[in-house]
Symmetry: C2
Subunit: 324 residues, 2 copies
């Protein structure tokens, strides 16, 4: 069995070995940049652990798994355009470092580099794997659309928020786990269980990500604490808070969001005060834990011995306990 | 044998029958819009004629051929962003009618809708067809990058210009013809000949498109006459003109391009005057005709009886003789 660290190394090596059409160098510079500035490679690592559940030979899965990472980074480049985000992972976003047109076009080519990776899936399961990927890719676009729509909405329910992150984030975790399992030789029942495992893991990941914006360690996590509050970003925390707030608390929250000019620290502090009154941190942590618990329940049903499941358990646990 | 008109109808019907994930309606409105505002469906029609060369049963090729049209329209949506183009086919471009973010995201989903179409290729040739498509898709991105780079360059050679349009335009015609032929059952030699046929046709098409901007009938062609001159767009005409111009003529051309404020009609007239002095119209028409002649030479070598080749000859001829 491979460790997460082994698998991450395989993925990083595969990313370095991606082949490019370099006739117009400028096209690929942003691609190489975004792929080089790190991230945890969670999706391909999840795919490879899922493959390794069923097979000791994961070589065939490495390039398709890398396609998941390329696709994910394609969405980051274009999402950062849409969000006018200047910084990602403490470095300038592609459209900030280059320009809008370069970010559109270099993003585009990444979609086809991802395809190139999926076309290297073993022929016996090419169609199955590509369909799982492509369905998720369309759903991620739908999720991003809901995200845009919700940013303009005054109030959304936590169910609407969860459906949005399901599409925008969780389905790609789900597809990653399912794709790895298919290449590893899982039967339909087990690969469907892996899909559901990944989906639940994806929910937990996103809720944890929302929590870390406020309660994470700035230096380790690499984001300004409370950046989501400063930018009025819809997160599980704020959606839930507005849902359970008293009239007075809701009024105070809306006042903070309406401010055109403000001291960031004061705004963050005032919003967090209300979160604390409403117990939002615990509610969010409990929900993330619920998703991981559901994921573990699904994992129990998968027809391989428990010893093989250790890395998947470790990965899921690291998502809710992680501080980096 | 099917006529171009039959095949265009099949494609239009397939476009209307595309299935969408409609959970976020706003995502697909621009997709349906750009796909509904016409165009000649040249790429899918070329694919279907190429298929029909080898087989009387073209049903299996209709959805993959439609994927070529969806992909082509994806590039139009994103290219129009990059070119700041307000109008396409006499109607507002997607980013003008909606906004930048919507054009980025709705464009993105089209790339995956195109994939969805290619995944419906008959399994016996799925990998082969998808590889041909995806190679072309990456080359189209490279071509668009060269186009952006060249817009900023003071002087480019006509060879550089032709390489750019080869990647940006001709390879998709080439891939279309090859994909159709593969699904129709052509052997490797014939499908390679079809690729070259399509590539040459694509060159002729783009040069003719450059000519039509100036010498086409505005009402029929749906563009402002001389729009490329007004916007200083690099075309075969201007690239060739600068290459063969005298020092004085080149100076006059550069003066026109440098104008910040100008009367459009005067600028167009002055540039066309120099084109006429340099015989640019004939040079360009001759080159387009050369490409079509080369295409016909390739068509001769394809191992099917001449009767079956009629529609392909008609399509190629319509590209250089067309006035609509």
């Amino acid at each position: 069995m491979y460790t997460q660290s082994d698998l991450k190394n395989f993925v990083n090596k595969a990313i370095l070995n991606l082949s490019y059409n370099d006739e117009a160098e400028k096209l690929n510079d942003p691609v190489k940049y975004i792929l080089s500035i790190g991230g945890k490679r969670l999706r391909p690592v999840l795919a490879l652990i899922a493959c390794n559940l069923f097979s000791d030979h994961i070589d065939e899965a490495i390039i398709p798994a890398t396609g998941l990472e390329v696709f994910h980074n394609f969405t980051l480049v274009h999402d950062d355009i849409m969000d006018h985000a200047p910084v990602r992972r403490n470095l300038p976003t592609v459209h900030s470092k280059w320009n809008l047109n370069q970010a559109v076009l270099s993003g585009d080519v990444m979609a086809f580099i991802a395809n190139e990776c999926f076309l290297q899936t073993p022929p016996r399961c090419l169609l199955k794997v590509f369909k799982v990927f492509n369905k998720a890719a369309i759903e991620v676009c739908v999720g991003q659309q809901l995200d845009i729509d919700f940013e303009k909405a005054a109030l959304i329910s936590h169910e609407e928020y969860l459906r949005m992150i399901e599409l925008k984030t969780a389905v790609l975790f789900a597809a990653s786990a399912k794709i790895g399992s298919i290449i590893g030789g899982a039967d339909d029942k087990d690969s469907e269980l892996l899909y559901e495992f990944g989906r639940n893991m994806g929910f937990a990941f996103q809720i944890q990500d929302d929590l870390l914006d406020i309660y994470g360690d700035v230096k380790v996590f690499g984001k300004i604490s409370g950046g989501d509050i400063i930018s009025n970003k819809k997160t599980f925390l704020i959606v839930k808070a507005l849902e359970i707030a008293s009239v007075e608390q809701a009024k105070q929250l809306h006042e903070q969001f309406a401010l055109k000019e403000f001291d960031p620290e004061t705004k963050v502090r005032k919003v967090i005060d209300i979160y604390n009154q409403l117990n939002i941190k615990n509610i969010s942590e409990d929900l993330a834990t619920d998703y991981i618990t559901t994921a573990f329940g699904l994992l129990d049903k998968i027809g391989v011995i428990n010893d093989r499941k250790t890395e998947l358990v470790n990965l899921a646990n690291s998502l809710i306990g992680r501080d980096n």
